[in-house]
Structures are given as structure tokens and as C-alpha cells.
């Protein structure tokens, strides 16, 4: 329960940053998707826990509430990214540093492709793919860059709640 609380608090903070702070920063063409990084946290630190998948889905749904009109698009793409990062976490040893950032980058790319897929299938005039071609890799790279800090933050939150 306390673990859920830690992720939920981090999710709310991430959403406030993504909807309030990042868009207000000047000269920032893309900003990191912190929700994706949190899904990565679940995939990497909780890759044997079925609750991680539900957590990733809810994080995506949360993102759906504040992005776009197609309900389920972000839920789908974030869950798909979670699956990709879980599979990597099962085969690679990673706690921090470059392997962690590489995993989040791959997760970001999978998320972008999943969003394109859903957008192409369900939206009438979706031009999601144009955005992904322009900014998809940059966004994945931005998420990878901030991933260690986000992991540190969630770990700190858990320690605060007496989990570690």
C-alpha cells in the first residue's frame, strides 16, 4: 500500500511538472515524459509483480486525462512500454546509470510507436505519427536523461514512508 502511495505521489508530482512547469519553460521543444519513467520504475524494480502492469496502465490512464482526446491511447502506449522495459529488466542487470537510461530510452521508443499504432487505427484525423517522427526520439532521450533522478526520487519517497 505504501509502495502504491509512493508511486501515486510521484505520478501527481510528475503530472504537475508536465502540465504546469515544463510547458512554461522557454526554448524547450520537448520535455521528458516522467510518467513513462515511472512506468519504467515499475517495470525495472517490480518486474515480477503483476501489480506493476496495473500501475503502468493507471499511470497511462492518468496521462490520458491530461493529454489528447483518445481515451486509452496513452494507457495502451505506456503499458506497452512497461512490457518492453519489464522484458529488458528480466534479462539485464540494471540498477542505475547507462543501462537504466538505455532501457528507458527503448521504453520511450516503444511508447511512441504504440501511440502511432493506436492513433493510426482509431483516430479519424490523427497526425500523431508526424509528431513522433519529429519529436519521438528526442522525447525518449529526454526521458532517459532524467530517469536516474526520477528513480532516486521514488526510492527517497519509499524510504520516507519506511519501506527501505
Amino acid at each position: 500500500m505504501r509502495s502504491v502511495l509512493a508511486i501515486a505521489a510521484a505520478g501527481i508530482a510528475a503530472m504537475l511538472l508536465q502540465t504546469g512547469i515544463f510547458p512554461a519553460l522557454p526554448y524547450l521543444p520537448v520535455w521528458p515524459d516522467l510518467i513513462l519513467v515511472l512506468a519504467g520504475y515499475l517495470g525495472i524494480r517490480h518486474h515480477n509483480d503483476a501489480g506493476g502492469a496495473i500501475g503502468a496502465f493507471l499511470l497511462g490512464y492518468f496521462l490520458d486525462t491530461f493529454s489528447g482526446t483518445i481515451l486509452g491511447m496513452q494507457a495502451f502506449s505506456v503499458t506497452a512500454a512497461y512490457v518492453a522495459m519489464t522484458m529488458m529488466a528480466r534479462h539485464l542487470w540494471m540498477e542505475r546509470g547507462l543501462p537504466l537510461m538505455a532501457t528507458i530510452f527503448v521504453g520511450g521508443c516503444v511508447r511512441a510507436l504504440a501511440a502511432v499504432g493506436v492513433g493510426a487505427l482509431v483516430a479519424t484525423r490523427a497526425q500523431v505519427w508526424q509528431h513522433v517522427v519529429r519529436y519521438g526520439f528526442l522525447e525518449a532521450a529526454a526521458a532517459a536523461l532524467v530517469a536516474p533522478a526520477v528513480f532516486w526520487w521514488v526510492t527517497w519517497e519509499k524510504r520516507l514512508l519506511g519501506l527501505r
Binding site: 512547469i21 502492469a53 493529454s67 482526446t69 503499458t79 512490457v83
Partner: protein
């Protein structure tokens, strides 16, 4: 049983993916949403977003002050203090003047509308770059409903597509899911304004119609959402390539969505008493 236990993560993930895909297919072609969980999240975040927006404004204001102070470094202490005091006062007044002008413009524009409209402050923007939406601090408790028109003194902003008790989200006309029935003011050529990657486009205009760069595009009033004659944007290029029946044009929206701080939201039907005033320069 053992198979389920061993693969529980992937089975749960598959179930979540199916659920998400199902949701996406169900809502993909709709311009409004009615999910309860989404309304709950929106309501939960509204007070936090309001606070963040206030902090954000304070930080931006502070940041501007810091930048302005850099130039005064080489001056002597007395002058520096004096200049600082004057600049702070000037900033405050200039900020107040700008806000005053903006609100006066909003009020003037409000007087040109017949119907029930209310002012809302923007408290958040789209969480990703995939879509173009805004979050406002008014919701169902204030009479804001899905499908309501959102306007600014410069022109059309968009329409409400999700509303919770105390907050709502606006789908901007520059979003690719948006569509506004519009006409070219000069020639009355009719088309649909849709969002594109870089702004807006006027589509489905008959090839025989006269559309030129610089033409103003206004609402036709035929979509039942926006009244006739509201400015939408200005034509910046016309594309007659291809062999189809239609031509299209690139349109720059009248409203600068990045600088927008307040909007007017319609509560019920409304009409324009007179032609919308010329857009004040931002």
C-alpha cells in the same frame, strides 16, 4: 495454474493492453469524453494545478526581475537600490497594466456577445506534445458543459471536451481532432478548419472558390457550437495542387494559444451582437 503463476505479469499486461485498446477504439472518433476515472483525476488535480500555476507565475515574474537586474550591476549602490525600486514598481505597474488591458479586452468582447458566458483562467496545458488542449479552472459547478464553445477577444479558442466539477479541458482548434465549420470572410467560400502539425488548415473548400493569402477566416455558424462571424484565423498559403475537387489553405489562428491566460466559456447558446472587434495585438 503454474503457467498462470509463472506468467502473471505478462497476462496482466495483456489484459491491461486489451482494456486500453478497447477504450481507445470506443472513444477514438468522439470529440467528448465521459469517463468517471478521468473526471476524478481532473478534479483531484485541479487545486494542485491551480497552485502550480500560481507558483509558476510567481517564478516567471521573479525570473524576469532577475534578468532585468543584471544590467544594473555596474551602477553604484544608491543608484542600484533606487533603480531596483523603480524597476520593481514599474514591473508591477506594467504587469497590472497588461493584465488590465487584457481583462478590459475580455470585457469589451463579452459585451459583443448575447448569451450566458463566463470567464475562466487557464491552469494547465497539454501534458504531452501529441495534442493541443488546455485545462481551465471552471467546471460543471459553474455551468460548464461538454461541447461548450471557448473564446478569446481575438477569436475562437476551441470547445470543452471533458468537464469535472471544478475544472474542464478545452480542445483547441489547432488540435488535429478539432473541426470548425468556417467561411472565408471576403468571398464566403466555405470549408472546415482543422488542426495541423504546425497550426490550422482550411480544408474541403471547392477548387472553384476564390481564396487568397491574407483572407480572414470566420466561423460560419453552421456547426451549432460557434455563432456566425467569429474570427478564426488568417490564410497564409493556398494549396491547389492535386486533381481533387477541393483546395486547402494554411491558416494562422488569430489566438496565440501559448500566451492565452483567460478565456470566455459559453453556458448555453449565444450569438454575436455585432461583428467581433479587431483582435488587439498581444
Amino acid at each position: 495454474m503454474d503457467f498462470i503463476r509463472r506468467n502473471r505479469v505478462f497476462l496482466t499486461s495483456a489484459a491491461c493492453l486489451l482494456l486500453a485498446a478497447g477504450l481507445a477504439f470506443r472513444t477514438g472518433r468522439q470529440q467528448t469524453r465521459a469517463d468517471r476515472l478521468g473526471r476524478f483525476f481532473l478534479e483531484l488535480m485541479a487545486p494542485l494545478q491551480r497552485s502550480t500555476a500560481a507558483v509558476d507565475r510567481a517564478v516567471v515574474s521573479l525570473w524576469r526581475s532577475v534578468i532585468e537586474l543584471v544590467g544594473a550591476r555596474n551602477e553604484n549602490v544608491v543608484l542600484r537600490v533606487r533603480v531596483q525600486q523603480l524597476e520593481q514598481e514599474m514591473d508591477r505597474r506594467s504587469e497590472l497594466d497588461i493584465e488590465n488591458a487584457r481583462l478590459r479586452g475580455l470585457l469589451d468582447f463579452r459585451r459583443t456577445l448575447q448569451g450566458d458566458v463566463l470567464t475562466a483562467r487557464i491552469i494547465g496545458r497539454d501534458a504531452t506534445g501529441l495534442a493541443r488542449t488546455l485545462v481551465i479552472d471552471r467546471g460543471e459547478a459553474d455551468g460548464v458543459v461538454k461541447g461548450a464553445a471557448a473564446l478569446a477577444p481575438q477569436g475562437v479558442v476551441g470547445q470543452i471536451f471533458l468537464a469535472s466539477r471544478h475544472a474542464a479541458r478545452i480542445l483547441l482548434i489547432s488540435d488535429h481532432n478539432s473541426g470548425v465549420d468556417a467561411v472565408v470572410e471576403r468571398t464566403r467560400a466555405r470549408g472546415i478548419v482543422q488542426g495541423t502539425v504546425d497550426g490550422c488548415g482550411l480544408k474541403y473548400v471547392k477548387r472553384t472558390e476564390d481564396v487568397q493569402v491574407g483572407d480572414t477566416v470566420v466561423t460560419s455558424g453552421l456547426d451549432g457550437i460557434f455563432p456566425k462571424g467569429l474570427p478564426v484565423g488568417t490564410v497564409v498559403s493556398v494549396d491547389k495542387r492535386g486533381q481533387g475537387l477541393f483546395q486547402s489553405a494554411e491558416v494562422t489562428p488569430r489566438v496565440d494559444f501559448d500566451r492565452l491566460e483567460e478565456v470566455l466559456v459559453a453556458r448555453g447558446s449565444f450569438t454575436l451582437l455585432q461583428e467581433a472587434p479587431a483582435a488587439p495585438e498581444e
